[in-house]
């Protein structure tokens, strides 16, 4: 059984690396570094503004710890055919799940430790927690997370509820209470309770798993959902097969299409515009990047960083529009329309210019808010316009020609 786990894990990791390699392409790494830099810059500025212990300090620490404790769940790597082919092996699956739990513990530990570390200056300054308390709290959350993962395994064996409520809810409620007690009274409370809970979970797990029955359907469904969430995340950056994005009607945005006359030359503009607005994937990407950019531009008052953010994000949105064209071109029916190839590219260029223009206008407002009508502000706005023209008129059409 542990061999099966090892084999599954190997395959799973290969898959993940494949996607991660696609995500961490040059463009993304560049954007990522700038983003981290900008956030770090903002955070250190923000810390400087805190001069005394604040009433909101502790609640923020509690909320952040609670949220990070939700990250990560047991990756069972179960597959659909298992419920048919491995049904006879059911009793042996306990070892398999133990290996799964151990593997799944690594990521939450890193996440909790990182958040604890990054939060420490804030917790020290704003929440008035001592360094020792912060360390104790972080360790406490880590141990508590181990216990949570064990309870998740009980769930696979049908022990999901306790007194009518799901164990997950109990455990999360308890965590809120414990975090409040430990941050306001003594930071040892969480660590002690978490250790007791973990001891209980470990000692009970064997008997629960052996007396319980493996809930194949729900366990597989859960794993599928987990994989889907991961893939949907990857899908923001690259094409993931099998992830279909949601379509929404968004009737209130129909006014956007009013300017598109219904004539042969606009066939593809008609299609591209509606697809872009209604497909969550593309409008979502555009909204996210535009909003992040606007927020960053509102916060950063360094000329060079703002200049890079303005240019980079317009380029990124333009770059990310390319897959949309590719996806539409895969539709068989559009290939037999009596419409020229060049018209398709022309229409897509119109869409991308419009989208980038909207983004540019939004970012221009953010820049003018921060820099006013100064030379620096106007230089950044002009640089954004230059990137817009370059990406919209030269870069995208040339890239699209390669797709055919």
């Amino acid at each position: 059984m542990t061999d099966l786990w090892k084999e599954r894990l190997r395959r799973h990791q290969l898959n993940q690396f494949k996607y991660l390699r696609l995500i961490f392409n040059d463009n993304f790494v560049l954007a990522f570094i700038v983003l981290i830099g900008a956030l770090g810059f903002w955070y250190s500025n923000f810390l400087d503004t805190i001069s005394q212990v604040n009433v909101f300090g502790k609640p923020v620490v509690i909320i952040l710890f609670w949220f990070i404790a939700q990250s990560g769940s047991v990756a069972t790597l179960l597959e659909e055919p298992d419920s048919t082919f491995l049904l006879v092996k059911e009793k042996d699956f306990y070892d398999y799940f133990k290996a799964a739990r151990n593997y799944s513990s690594m990521l939450p530990v890193v996440a909790v430790a990182l958040v604890g570390f990054l939060m420490s200056p804030f917790a020290f300054k704003a929440a008035g927690l001592s360094v020792l308390s912060i360390i104790m709290l972080t360790i406490g959350v880590v141990i508590y997370k181990f216990a949570m993962l064990n309870f998740e395994i009980f769930g696979i064996y049908g022990k999901e509820n306790f007194k009518g409520l799901s164990i997950k809810i109990w455990v999360n409620l308890a965590l809120v209470v414990l975090l409040i007690l430990s941050s306001y009274l003594s930071s040892f409370i969480l660590i002690v309770v978490a250790a007791i809970l973990l001891g209980y979970a470990v000692s009970r797990s064997q008997s629960i798993c052996e007396s319980g029955q493996l809930q194949w359907q729900s366990a597989i469904a859960k794993e599928n959902q987990r994989m889907f969430r991961i893939k949907r995340f990857y899908n923001l950056f690259t094409d993931v097969p099998g992830v279909n994005s949601k379509i929404r009607r968004r009737k209130w945005l129909d006014f956007l299409f009013k300017g598109i006359k219904e004539e042969q030359g606009n066939t593809y503009l008609y299609l591209f515009a509606r697809g872009f607005v209604r497909n969550n994937e593309y409008i979502g990407l555009f909204m996210r990047l535009t909003i992040i950019q606007a927020i960053m531009l509102c916060l950063i008052d360094n000329f060079y960083i703002s200049l890079i953010v303005e240019m980079l994000f317009i380029y990124l949105v333009g770059f990310q529009l390319k897959p949309y064209f590719k996806e539409t071109m895969q539709n068989l029916m559009q290939r037999i329309y009596p419409v020229k190839q060049s018209d398709k590219i022309k229409d897509f260029t119109k869409l991308s210019m419009f989208v980038l223009f909207v983004q540019w206008v939004v970012s221009a407002f953010a820049i003018l808010y921060k820099f006013g009508f100064s030379v620096n502000g106007l230089i950044i706005v002009a640089a954004g316009l230059a990137v817009l023209v370059f990406v919209g008129y030269f870069y995208i059409p040339r890239q699209l020609k390669k797709i055919f």
Binding site: N244, I247, R249, E262, E263, Q264, N266, T267, Y270, L271, R274, G275, R278, N279, N331, L332, M333, Q334, R335, I336, Y337, P338, V339, K340
Partner: protein
């Protein structure tokens, strides 16, 4: 409208599925394209509508090939695929608008035709639906409406009878008959031999990417020496020739 295939050779990648396939579809003819799975029916259709490029031979519609004038050639054809292909982001109404735009049709006149067809297929109250809300049969009906409202002269229908309810099959056959009266030609591939036997003027029997035989039912009976047989019997006899 006449469709001519002259010694068409082609297929996917390096493998030639079709080997010197030759047949014609005349003005106002309904032609059934018949063959086993993998005989080359869909491949033939993909070559005719221009999704695949022939490796040899010629395809002419009214003497015009795809290379001569892509837009003119494509305007002459309407295609209903075996698996419905719709735009997930467009409503039914917008699919019709898009088709009108793509083929450069007259908006009001075409909508009149479309309304009639939508009514026939009981889709006229679903104009604002998205494809994800349609069943497979409904999607197929949308494809049929979008194809038959155009001014095409050649209608190519891949497997029209599977997935449609009996009422819709009947409606489709009526529409085909109507188009035929107007001088259009229809080429349909199918496995439902009993239906096609009653409604097609001519049959093309494909085997291993070649035309094994073609002609009216009577001509086929003669060729296979089965005076009392129906299309089913002939088909089975052809399939057994390999063994």
């Amino acid at each position: 409208m006449t469709l001519e295939l002259k010694e068409l050779t082609g297929g996917y990648g390096q493998v030639s599925v079709l080997k010197k396939e030759t047949f014609t579809v005349e003005d106002g003819q309904v032609v059934g394209l018949i063959g086993l799975n993998g005989a080359g029916k869909s491949t033939t259709i993909k070559h005719i509508i221009g999704l695949l490029t022939p490796r040899g031979g010629q395809i002419l519609i009214d003497g015009l090939s795809l290379q001569d004038n892509v837009e003119e050639y494509r305007k002459k054809i309407a295609y209903v695929p075996e698996m419905p292909i719709l735009y997930s982001e467009l409503t039914l109404k917008e699919h019709i608008n898009l088709t009108i735009m793509a083929y450069g049709l007259d908006h009001d006149k075409t909508w009149e035709k479309a309304h009639e067809l939508l009514k026939t297929f009981r889709l006229d109250n679903k104009l604002d639906w998205f494809p994800q809300n349609f069943s497979k049969g409904m999607k197929q009906k949308v494809m049929i409406v979008c194809a038959f409202m155009t001014d095409a002269r050649l209608f190519i229908i891949d497997e029209p009878f599977t997935g449609l309810d009996p009422l819709a099959v009947n409606d489709l056959l009526n529409i085909v008959e109507e188009k035929k009266q107007k001088g259009c030609s229809i080429l349909m591939s199918t496995h439902v031999l009993a239906t096609v036997q009653d409604h097609a003027d001519k049959f093309i029997l494909l085997n291993h990417g070649q035309v094994r035989a073609d002609g009216t039912l009577d001509e086929l009976k003669e060729k296979f020496d089965m005076q009392n047989g129906n299309l089913d019997d002939i088909y089975i006899k052809m399939s057994n020739e390999d063994q």
